[in-house]
């Protein structure tokens, strides 16, 4: 335990926030949440929480919804939480890396520097991977991606990601920044091992999917090949 003690109430709010994050992705306004089937009953997460506490601070958005999907008599609507669409960041002392990122991305876009940016991203991914070697399988990929904030989850034998860590700049310069992201993940996971990062964009999520390479094309895929 460090000097920062957490109260039972703050732990409850953290649990609620984590639950809301894992049950819905990060929808752009009115764009994707309505068209994607929910991953859990009700889509968003219903849970008892201290009234007005969990959504204080703007981290969560709440509304009332009948989780049964039926109208008419029955239990009253549940309070349903979803992650707020806005972003929060804290920096002490004040820093503004987002403006810097947007300006650099704008300059790279106008100068057509996609190839150079992707090469830098691939090198960075390889450096982050370090001496640990190639990613050994999808379970390891989930751990690696979770540690970098991608919020990975398994679906149909692949790993998809709910969160794009570069969301704001990716929205402004999608081909440039999504290409950078793919190159970063190719460097991080490797392109010669048992898993492959591939661009497979769909609304509301990271544009990359991680899949196992076919065994015949990757004979070293025996280290962690459990999916």
């Amino acid at each position: 335990m460090g000097p920062w003690r957490t109260s039972k109430r703050s732990r409850c709010c953290r649990t609620l926030y984590d639950a809301a994050c894992t049950s819905t992705s990060w929808p752009r306004a009115g764009r994707s949440a309505a068209t994607r089937p929910p991953r859990r009953p009700g889509g968003a997460h219903a849970r008892r929480a201290p009234p007005g506490q969990a959504d204080r601070g703007g981290l969560l958005e709440s509304g009332s919804r009948r989780l049964s999907g039926r109208s008419g008599p029955g239990p009253p609507p549940a309070k349903v939480y979803t992650r707020a669409r806005g972003e929060r960041s804290v920096s002490l002392p004040a820093r503004d890396y987002r403006t810097a990122a947007e300006l650099l991305a704008e300059a790279a876009e106008h100068a057509g520097l996609d190839a150079g940016l992707c090469a830098a991203a691939r090198r960075r991914g390889e450096a982050l991977r370090g001496p640990a070697g190639l990613c050994g399988g999808l379970d390891e990929a989930v751990e690696t991606l979770a540690a970098r904030g991608y919020e990975p989850y398994r679906e149909d034998g692949a790993v998809r990601m709910r969160n794009c860590p570069f969301h704001a700049v990716a929205e402004s310069f999608p081909p440039l920044v999504c290409g950078m992201n793919l190159a970063l993940l190719e460097g991080l996971l490797g392109t010669e091992g048992p898993v492959r990062a591939r661009m497979d964009a769909r609304p509301g999520e990271c544009c990359v999917v991680v899949e196992e390479e076919a065994v015949e094309a990757a004979p070293r895929a025996s280290k962690n090949n459990d999916d």
Binding site: R31, D114, P174, R202, G204
Partner: protein, 134 residues
């Protein structure tokens, strides 16, 4: 590569219409701006529908590799505007809107993803319409 992408567009949510040369599968043979420029003109129900197809579908992978096939435009090369429901825009109309964007910047008449305008804002120009893009 073009055929699968065009087929995906044709079945994408919100797709209304795209420019196709007579007797062809696409519009790549039309060169109204010179031999080295192709045009892409389509109508969508909403700006969000166009965005999701362009950047949140298999189209993004093609966009990611765009430098392999295209030189970079110095001037604005994409424009959106609202058209009345049922209206099929022409290439000449698209070039007018692009010229408007280049000359005056984004406005309800001609705008971009980064500086968009609603159909209501464009009501004086093209009421009750769908966004079209070139």
């Amino acid at each position: 590569m073009l055929d699968p992408v065009n087929a995906a567009a044709d079945t994408a949510p919100g797709f209304v219409w795209r420019l196709v040369e007579d007797g062809e599968a696409d519009a790549t043979g039309m060169r109204p701006l010179g031999e080295d420029v192709i045009v892409n003109l389509s109508v969508w129900e909403s700006q969000e529908a166009l965005w999701d197809f362009a950047y949140r579908s298999g189209h993004l992978e093609v966009m990611r590799r765009r430098r392999e096939w295209f030189h970079r435009h110095v001037e604005a090369h994409m424009v959106l505007w609202w058209v009345p429901a049922g209206h099929v825009p022409t290439v000449a109309e698209a070039l007018e809107r692009l010229a408007d964007l280049r000359e005056h910047g984004p406005s309800p008449r001609a705008f971009t993803f980064a500086s968009s305008h609603t159909a209501a804002e464009a009501a004086g120009h093209a009421p009750d319409g769908n966004p079209a893009t070139v």
